[in-house]
Symmetry: C2
Subunit: 311 residues, 2 copies
């Protein structure tokens, strides 16, 4: 008789998306080589709430030192492919004094151009899945491999414009869309956000989270609505990754709670807002790597304080 | 012995500002002759909360029918001057699909060019005073005539750019500034709103209300902060007067409560948001003229519902 080996437990949360090397210029400084990518920002943020595993690809220019961020945050990298002789995804961007929108100066897909996500049997059992912003066909390939209880996704104007049909197929098979204001209007082809949301909720997802940068976030289901202002920051240093940190806080809190009811979802929107507010305080994920759990709780309570009024 | 006549009690709330005849074009329609002006929108809105008196000037093109709006809302017009042979202030404006900003096509000051506000002894005793958007020197003349307990004011980019010194003198003698996002940044010459607010609160006022259109409103004192999203509207018909309706709800509720504490001020921000949300649903003040007090209460409670989350 042989003793069966215990299979590893799946991480409660799985993310697929880019891990990148960014070059960023803001009015406050320049960083030539900065860790970035949606899956990196998402996983660092969500790691404060739950165990998270990342599905992505890097080249061999992604050094052992670069990987330290995953080790420090105990992020599972069993599904992080390393392509020998390949180059990691690169993004060069710039912000003006209006920090709400980035100007992309250069994007090099590199190893992402040929990426075929092949998930481990363990990863396929994660109950919460986030499809960060990548080519919608790739998002769907991953979605189909994972038997998740709750799936959310992000996207961007580029896919809305260039791969609309492909994108709509992916949107049809997720529970929640987490996108920004302009993307929601563009996707729905409707300037009024409330009507845009109503339209998006006919495409498949039962929930829509709209990220509004310095104006906060809104959460729609077919019969509920929740909105919050953003945390009042007197210095925004680098907005890169704010949206992914938001999604990380949102999904991390849901996976930690292992519940998907209105009370939990509203709190998740606030935790998303908290994580985004910390993320923008320094370059890359520098601020999150120093963050203490007590700081997350403090800012969560401040959200309550500054939005509360008596009937 | 003669029996002294009882002097009329002052209205709890007094407003000075423009009463205008507007021509407005929005993507949803055109109205050639529409009642407008900051003092008109403000007084209609605040009349749902308290008695209000208006200080303004009109020409004799402002008909008995035009005045019906004041009669219907029981707005005191003892201090509304009528200049015989004069023409009422005119504004011609247009909105695109982005309803956040109006394009001014024409402004004719007309009777406002020579306006010298002379307040009745009764009006001078109103405890709450709102200086709607007019030339800052005029605002100060009125402010100096009224022995008010609480004074708030609005202004616009035009005065910030053309009459900065004059404007700063007026700002120095009020308790609260109620302006929009862009005006706050421009006045403080600071792109970050939180730092802009901090700077503005060194200029005299102890409070700043920032109106953010579809993104809601923020309220700053030197040591407190409150923010709310806007009411989620699926159709915005005509944004003209939204800011003044907001100020009317805010000041009307304070005057009605006759209290200026944090709890009351936060509720006042919500009432302001409620009144603005109704105002934009139809041309001019058409919607407010049909509004029922129960609708104000309903929307106030909806604000609570859609911003509430559990700790």
């Amino acid at each position: 008789m042989t003793i069966p080996t215990t299979p590893a437990a799946p991480a409660p949360l799985l993310v697929v998306g880019s891990v990148a090397i960014d070059s960023i210029k803001t009015p406050f400084g320049v960083r030539e080589r900065s860790l970035g990518g949606a899956a990196l920002h998402f996983s660092v943020s969500s790691s404060f709430f739950t165990d998270v595993a990342v599905v992505a690809v890097v080249g061999d220019d992604f050094s052992h030192d670069d990987e330290a961020v995953f080790r420090e945050r105990k992020i599972n990298t069993d599904n992080l492919q390393r392509i020998s002789g390949g180059r990691t995804f690169r993004w060069v961007g710039e912000y003006g004094f209006d920090l709400n929108t980035a100007r992309t100066l250069d994007t090099q897909l590199n190893v992402f151009a040929e990426f075929k996500p092949e998930l481990s049997p363990t990863a396929r059992k994660s109950p919460f899945l986030f499809l960060a912003n990548i080519q919608p066909g790739l998002q769907r390939e991953v979605r189909e491999q994972v038997d998740a209880r709750f799936v959310a996704m992000d996207t961007m104007n580029y896919w809305i414009e260039s791969s609309r049909d492909e994108l709509l197929k992916t949107i049809a098979v997720v529970d929640a869309l987490i996108i920004n204001d302009a993307e929601a209007r563009e996707l729905a082809q409707e300037p009024n956000l409330i009507r845009a949301a109503r339209k998006i909720l006919t495409l498949g997802p039962s929930m829509l989270v709209v990220k509004r940068g310095e104006y906060g976030a809104a959460f729609f289901t077919r019969d509920t609505y929740f909105a919050t202002p953003a945390f009042p920051l007197d210095s925004v240093f680098d907005p890169t990754g704010a949206g992914d940190s938001f999604a990380g806080g949102f999904m991390g809190y849901l996976a930690q709670s292992d519940k998907i009811d209105e009370t939990t979802l509203r709190r998740a929107v606030i935790y998303g807002s908290v994580m985004a507010s910390y993320n923008v305080e320094e370059f890359s994920c520098d601020r999150l790597l120093k963050l203490q759990p007590s700081e997350i709780r403090d800012r969560f309570h401040l959200f309550k304080d500054f939005t509360h009024f008596e009937i």
